[in-house]
Amino acid sequence: MRIRVQEEAFDFGAEAQEFAARQSQSGAVVTFTGIVRDTDAGLQAMEIEHYPGMTQAQLTSFAKEAMQRFSLEDALVIHRHGRLVPGDMIMMVATAARHRKDAFEAAEYLMDYLKSRAPFWKREITTDGSADWVASKQEDETALSRW
């Protein structure tokens, strides 16, 4: 299980490959990657603030819970903070399990918790210079009730 919170970019392909290659018992590997996408208003950058002392511990606790709940062989979470531009990868999770159902559900579980329970806050800087904090979505809160 590996958890990384970092400002620098990560190499999604290399991380995904390495993760899949180091599993010995798992027939199923699922990855999720979040990418900064342009908005209708024109996005110049996305700034991600976080709570340094809490982030790593919180992500570790989600991953531990996922490992147990979905009988994972392994899990990986990488989440960036700082300034990102459209096309940049924000974060990724990867899960490895014997069966695909567990690998899929664990990845969705991690994403649902990352969205609403990990101490990150996104701000969108539009091309006209305005900066707006991204509002949390009710649907993200609702998604948690599934678990």
């Binding site: 709570y51 329970r117 990150f120 949390s136």
Partner: protein, 82 residues
């Protein structure tokens, strides 16, 4: 002495990321009341606590939680990770 941390727009409204204060507040809600009464910018930041989340010693908590033994309180809007 207790450390108080602010993130995202809470930090912006209050105008600082962190402060250390002396308080006799028993619960988080008491502490919020105390802060609100200090200055307009606090009153503004804490106008609607249903829009806020709180962490005690880096664990998510509730506004009715006791502060006994707590060394770090953080206030922030709902998280938007992922």
């Amino acid at each position: 002495m207790i450390d108080i941390l602010y993130f995202a727009w809470v930090r912006e409204r209050i105008g600082l990321p962190k402060e250390r204060i002396e308080t006799s507040a028993v619960t988080v809600a008491d502490l919020v009341e105390e802060l609100r009464s200090r200055e307009e910018r606090y009153a503004l930041a804490f106008a609607d606590t249903s829009a806020l989340r709180v962490a005690l010693d880096q664990e998510l908590s509730e506004f009715n939680a006791p502060l006994a033994g707590v060394r770090e309180v953080a206030f922030f809007p709902p998280m938007t990770g992922g």
